[in-house]
Each structure stands twice: as structure tokens, then as C-alpha cells.
């Protein structure tokens, strides 16, 4: 049987408590407390969303993933098993918990109407309906079936899709699938810039 790094630390921590039971070294006790804090948490393996080192991140949540319980993030740390980052995180990775529990997060769809000076709330249903309508209207108005030489073009030149840099491979693929099917050619990504 192989002992993982973390198992080793666990054994070391317990051993440490026994060894200093008559002393005043509080370090192992603090380690034990930390262990207890996340002991009842669920551990989720994730990847840092920032640079392309792709550091392994462990997200600890309480709330046992039962249907009626919303999990709560209580701790985030680097994944010690990850071959690249070996448990370390940089100042950005270290603040990931604040990114997850951030009061500034957008939580509802909004629309800014022509000429308006502020946002107004809109339901998902209405927002998606309106966006679909805009998409069809613009596509039908700007679709180029044949180019100037009469050759097939089959492209929609009135709509652009620009994609981000922390989206998953699968999301990117779905975008390409959907947007190429709509005929989009102004299809670009952070990867360009």
C-alpha cells in the first residue's frame, strides 16, 4: 500500500500530539484544529481559473450535498497531490474563496434599454426570448448566401461572439457548434488577444 503525502501528514500530526503531550509545543495542536475544521467538509477537486499553470485546488464545503442543503465554501487550498503546484497557490489562487463568496456577484438578469440611464431587471424567460429574436432578426438581415463572385458563403456577418479564457473545453466546443451553425464568422476569443 502506498502512503499518500496527506496520509503521511495525518500520521505525523497524530504522532506529534503524542510526542509533545508533556510539552508546550502548540504547533501540532493547531494542525489538529485545522484538520478538524475541514474534517466534516466535502472535498471537491478543482482547477484554479487564473493562469495556465492550472494549479490543482481543493474546495472544502459543508452541507453534505443532500438535495435541500446548499453547500457552503469554508476553505480553499492548493492540492498537495497535484504534480505541478504541489499544494502551493499564488496571491490570486489564495484569494479564490473570496471569489466564490463574493457579494459583488451578479445574481439576476438585467437589461439596459435604448436610451436608458440605468439597468432594469428582466426575467430569464423574457431575456432569452428577446435575445433569440434579436439573433434571428440580425441573422436574417445580414446573412450572405453567395459572395460577390456568386460563390457559396453561408455566413452571418451581422453578429459576433467573443468568448473568454476560463471557459471549459466543453463550453468552447458547444459555442463553436452553435455559433458556426448560425453561420457566425466574427467568432473570436481571448486566445487571440
Amino acid at each position: 500500500m502506498q502512503t499518500s503525502r496527506r496520509d503521511f501528514f495525518k500520521v505525523a500530526a497524530v504522532g506529534g500530539v503524542a510526542a509533545t503531550i508533556f510539552g508546550f509545543d502548540l504547533k501540532p495542536a493547531y494542525a489538529q484544529l485545522k484538520e478538524l475544521k475541514i474534517a466534516r467538509a466535502a472535498e471537491t477537486r478543482s482547477t484554479c481559473p487564473y493562469c495556465a499553470v492550472g494549479c490543482g485546488v481543493l474546495i472544502y464545503t459543508i452541507g453534505d450535498k443532500a438535495k435541500n442543503v446548499t453547500p457552503q465554501v469554508i476553505h480553499v487550498e492548493g492540492d498537495p497531490d497535484h504534480p505541478t503546484n504541489r499544494g502551493t497557490l499564488c496571491p490570486k489562487g489564495s484569494s479564490l474563496e473570496q471569489d466564490m463568496l463574493n457579494p459583488r456577484r451578479l445574481t439576476k438578469p438585467q437589461v439596459r434599454r435604448p436610451g436608458a440611464t440605468d439597468w432594469q431587471d428582466i426575467s430569464w424567460d423574457q431575456a432569452l426570448d428577446e435575445i433569440a429574436r434579436w439573433t434571428k432578426k440580425t441573422r436574417d438581415a445580414t446573412f450572405v448566401e453567395k459572395d460577390a463572385k456568386g460563390l457559396p458563403a453561408n455566413r452571418c456577418e451581422g453578429i459576433s461572439f467573443i468568448g473568454g479564457c476560463t471557459d471549459t473545453n466543453e463550453f468552447n466546443y458547444l459555442v463553436v457548434k452553435a455559433m458556426r451553425s448560425l453561420g457566425l464568422v466574427y467568432l473570436e476569443n481571448q486566445a487571440r488577444v
Binding site: 493562469c51 490543482g56 474546495i59 484569494s95 437589461v111 434599454r113 448566401e145 459576433s160 476560463t166 481571448q190
Partner: protein
Amino acid sequence: MTNGWVDIKNTDMMLIMGGNPAENHPCGFKWAMEAKRNRNAKIISVDPRFTRTSSTADLFVQIRAGTDIAFLGGLIRYAIENNRYAKEYLINYTNAAFIVKEGFKLPEDGLYSGFDSAAGTYDKTTWNYQEGEDLSGKTDAPASAAHAAPSAAAAPAPPPALPPNVAYDLTLQHPRCVFQLMKQQYSRYTPETVERITGIPKEQYLKAIDMFTSVRKDGDMKQVATIIYAVGWTQHTFGTQIIRTAAMIQLLLGNVGRAGGGVNALRGHSNIQGATDMAGLFDSMPGYLKVPTPTDADLASFLKRTTPTSSKPSPWGSWNYYSNTPAFFVSLLKALYGDAATKENGFGFDYLPRVDRDYSWTHIWEDMYNGKVKGMMAFGMNGVMIGPDTNKNINALKKADWLVVGEIYQDETSEFWRAPGITADEQKTINTTVYRLPCAGFAEKDGSMTNSARWVTWKYAAVPPPGQARLDQDIVAQIFLRVRDLYKKEGGKFPDPILNVSWAYADSAHPSLSQVAMELNGKALADLKDDKTGQVVVKAGQQLPGFALLKDDGTTMCGNWIYSGCWTEAGSQIQRRGTEDPSGMGVFPNWSWSWPANRRVLYNRASCNLDGKPWDPERKQVWWNEAAGKWAGNDVPDFKADSHPKDHLGPFIMNPEGVGRLFAPIGVLAEGPFPEHYEPIESPTKNLLHPEQSNNPLVKKFKSPYDKFGDPAEYTIVCTTYRLTEQYHYWTKNNPMNVQLIPEPFVEIPVELAEEKGIRGRDMIHVISARGKYTAKAFVTRRLRPMMIDGRKVYQIGLPIHQGYRGIQEDAERDARTPANLLTPAVTDPNAHTPESKGFLVKVEKA
């Protein structure tokens, strides 16, 4: 990266240039420090600014932004002059011995042969190899009849193609062999010239290139050097050519394919690599396949145009792996259109939009400004901030009919209509409808991301999105399905691709990403049989084991051929967590999965000599096993498994030549087969090699009122932009901790410039380009020294890109509210279409 993060620990020498990994990739940079500590490896840091990477370096060299090709070209010259190159590697694994067509001219005047100055384009006919046989030792080979001057009455020539049999000279003496041409090309890049262009004192320059090439002292092949770069190289109007120069150096020194070697792009975002692989870009299809153009009559002619045929010396072999393009592309069409892709309709080829011009990033904004692009969807992409030319992008958005922004925070793009300077009265005149949709953060989504080392790693969702926020993939799916419903009900322009696209996910409005990952891997649509034995190897419906089984007859489907193998019948490979590293070289073969085929170092056949024995027996990656009759290794051989070394099959299996390209023939690059130094579009000096052709001749400038360029007499200072360790683009300015660490923007300026202008540290200053004005505090520093460029003093300044007009500090109005990209020009590299954000001209004023 040809190699990987952990692999850097295997190196002996690092040239880190156009990148600052100590600050921007800190947790990956530890492996550079490992190499330094354990192998006594050296770091050479070349940067306009003394960075934290520079502080760990054995040698720091300050360079003028945008003069990297001059630096690297001089390095090639030095390596050749001093015999510091890998001769056996060079002759056998590169096109050094290939003979180039007569009529090919080097750019002594800044232009290669074939330039049409009226059209601003090249006729690349002469940028090709000469057809022929072994010319070794025959330096006075007569020109073949085919190259006689063409008669005026001749029929229009077919588009140039590579000859199947290339003339070659293994003695490398023929005056038109690639090696001699390359030697001639860089003979002009003397240390004296390099000093005048780059501002690096000759003695220091010689020290740097001597140190780097020392790995090949006396032709010894044991040591290995790596070149590491980031957007400091890509964000130029000649960025692709800088990177090519690096690749040429690594081929010349025999460093590609080897542990601790390679050309290593440090990508700036967690899944930029994956986004490129998946082709969220106008000019490619998933897996780097080509896009159809209007002139492709049908699938067959498209495949004929885009499938390369091998081009090599006749006794050599070339696997030419892209000869499988038809299998990759037809399998992609089957993934895109499912049952609607039939042999009869060319597998739905006509459903794809055709592309025959540049639709890249800067064109989107130009064409939106000109009223052509009327709607935009931006998901996790803050286009106003990323620029270039923020003002232009804001003014383009004012003209759009609609904008959809999917984000997790308020961003500058969704709030463009109330950017600083836009009054409430003006807002009333802006008619753009803007939808802002709350998306999911990284911890709320599962799916895979691909790091710089091509490791494809799955992540799991930890928490649900807050409030009404939805998963990004659900939003895109729901928009698409509603558009599809409208076309079903109402009809419209060319609805066929919309109605026929395969969207067969278990829950179409909430596509499961594991199902999508399985589609990327691909599956058999009919029983697949072994060609030789006739046995069924994969049953219909089963996941494919890898791309080798892809077919061009519609019996396989695969969303992205390079990802084939990521989710097989054995399960998800991208969720593996094996921590073992049997070779100790940082391969970690069972940790997640890397494309292609779980190979960790690309082109690793080149880590061995011609006989198949590793150049360095202590860093064995792959080797030829004579007894077994195949290649074996600590890594997956990036090679035909049973190809005997005697067959002389080239290690660069993705090139039709089978070898690495010192000379990039015909259509590969826009502005020439060898990189040439051109000045940035805005530069303090004329090009000292050829003042008449200062810039890249293929760069085009837009004509909008925002596309203004600074006169070097007025704008005398070279400006560059960069990131800080504590902030991530335009995102972490919403996190209190990062804002506490870096609460406000600043401008780093040299002490001498500060004294000249009477500026003290913390004074507010304006940085002004021809396009915009950026305001922040001065940070007076010795990290940027004045440089002598051709006998004239030139200042360089630098500024971080993070702050804008939305964020914790910005919203509290405690911060300068100007984005850095107000300053940058919308001119791009003609190959990669990346804007020139590094090395533009500004002036500085006290605020």
C-alpha cells in the same frame, strides 16, 4: 508548450524572454528554480523591465520592446560562427539541407522576393524547395529548366505546392541550401547592429548569447536549453516571427523534442490553450483543421486543398500525419451534424460558413464601428478592457443594436454606455440594448480545462451558482434552442445548419459536459475492423481509444481529433490522479491526460540520435528497442511505433517534410520564410537594417477616426504593459484581498525621466498616446533604465493593465478610472492577428 511545467526541472539553460513567469506563473516557475537548484541550470532574463524573474536570473539583459528578432537573429549568427549547433540533428531532423528554388531573395532591403507593392501582398512562388535529388557536393548545380523565365503567354500558374522530392545537400555547402541562406540572412545581425537596434551593449549581448549557446560547446549533445515566453512575444505586429526565430534556434541547437528543452509558450489564462484547441477563432476548426473558403467547390476539393502531401529528400521518410485530415474532418462533421451528415451531402460540408478574409478581433470592432456588425454576445470576455484602443471599442458598441454579456461581475463592457466621460444626456442617445446575464463562477461548473502543458484536467462543481445565475453552457444552449425554435416555426435564411446540428444531449437545455467530453473523444458509428486481420476492434457505439481509428467514411464521429483518447471505453482519462512518476523526470503519465495521445513532450523522437539512442542517457525519454522492433519510452513516443531508425522517418511528423522548418516554405507565414527584424508600428527609430522598409510590409492600418498613430518626434517614449502577481486581468479587482494588495494602478517610469520632467514618486501623471490618455500615480524606479538606441537616449515606461471603471475601488471612486488599453493601437500581426500591445509610443505629463 512543446514540453511542460514540471519538465522545466530537466533543463540546463533557460532563456526567458517576452515573459515574466516568476510573477505571472508563480506556481509553475518553481520548476525553473528546481532546475537552478538541482542542475545548476542558468537563467537568462531578457525584458524591457527588471522583473522578479530577472531577479532570479544569472544574467539580466534590458531590451527595447519589439526588438526581439534582432536579439535572436544575432544569436543564430553567433551559434553558426562559433560552431555551437547540433550538426547531426540539424542535417537529419531539420530542413537545413533542403535546397531552395532559384529566384528566392533574402530581405536585405526588408522585402523578400515576390512583393507586390501596389497590393501590399507577396507572390510566394519562390518561397519553395527545389524539386530534385541528392546534390551533396555539387555546389554548381545547373538550374533546372522548370525555372527558366516564364514566357508572358504562359497560362496562369497553379497555386504553388511543395515538390514531392526535394533537392538536398547533406554537406550543407550548396549556396541555396536552407542552412547557407539562413547563415546569410543573419550575417547582417552582428553584435554591433544588434546593439544599435536593441540598445543592449555589445559586451553584455555577447555574454548572453555565449551563455545560451554554451550548451552546444564543441558540439556536445548532452546538455539542453529551453526557451520560455509569453505575450511579450505575441503582442507585436511580427509576434509569430519572433516565436519562429526561437523555434529556429532550438532546432539549430537540437533542443526540440528533448526533456528540459523545447519552445514553451506560457499561456496567460487557465483555458486559453483549450479555447484555441476548440477553435473559438474565426480561422480554424477544432483540432487546428482549416476553415472552408468560398472557392472550395465541395468537401472533396476542400479536403484536397487542405490535406498536405509529403515533401522530402527521396531516400527519407515522412509520416505527414496531417495526411489523415479527411478522417479528422469527416469525423468532426459527423459530430457536428450527426445523422444529417451523409455521404450524399458531403457530410454536411455546405452547412459550414465560408471564410475568405480576416474576421479577427480588431476587425470585429472596426466593422461594428462601421455599422456592419450589429449584435454581439460576449461570454466571460471583457472586450472594452482588453482593447486594443478601448475608446474605439466603446464607440463601436454605441453603434450596435444589441449586446449580450454573460459575466459573474459587473464589467466595463456591459457598462460601456456609462463609461467615464459619457454624460446622462449622451446615454439617452445610445440606442444599444444590453442584456447582462449572471453566469457561473469556476467552482460552480464542471468540465475540463487544458493548461499550458496541454494537460487536459477535469474539475468538479463544488457549489451551485448564486441567486438566479445559470451555468454558461445552459445559457448558450437555451439561446440556441430558442433561435432554433424560431427557425422551425417561421423559417428564415438558410435554416438547414441550425435545424440539422446535432444537439443530442440527454437534457438539451442543460447539456452535460461529460457527455460533451465524450463527444470530443469520439465514438464508432459502425463496427470498426482491423485492416490486416479483419477482426472487429471497436464495436458500434463504443468510445474510440484514440485518433488512429478515425475514418473518413462516416463510420466514426469525433468533436476534436487531438482530444481523442481523453474519454475512452476505459473511462475518463482526464479525471485520473495517478501521482507516480516512474522515470523521475516529471512525466506523471497517469495524472490527467495530455493531448495528443497522452504525450508529455512533443516530437520526442528527436531526443534520440539517428540510431534511436538518447542524446543524453541520463534523461531518457524514448528509445528504439531493437529486440521488440519498436519504440519504447518513459513518455509515449511521438512517432510511428514500429519505424526502424534505418528508415529515416522524420521526427517532426506533423510537417509534410518530416523535419523541423528553419525555412518556412510558401503559405506558412505571411511575411517571409525567415524572420526579419521590423520595427513596431510606432517606434522611436527607423529600421536600422533597412530604413525604407521600417515596418512589417503586410501590416494594414484601419481608417477609422480612432486609428491614429503617434509621430515619434512628439511621442518619444516606448511604453509596454504587463500584469501583476496579485491581480488577474479585470476580475480580481472584485476581491477585497487582491484590492488590498494592489489598490490602485501606477506607471513605472525611469528615475532619469522623472528628473527631467520634475515628477516625484506618487505624483499623478498622464500617459498620452495618439489614441488616449491614461492617468495614474508615478512609480519612479531604476527597474527601467534609459537606453541608447543608435546613439540616442530612449526611455521606456511600463504600466499594469488591471484597473478600469468597475471594481471595488473604482465603484467607490477611489481610483483612477482609465483602462490601460486606451493607449494601445489596433494593428495586428498578419499571421496570428494578435494586436500590438507591447512597444507603442507615448508622452508623459504631470497631471
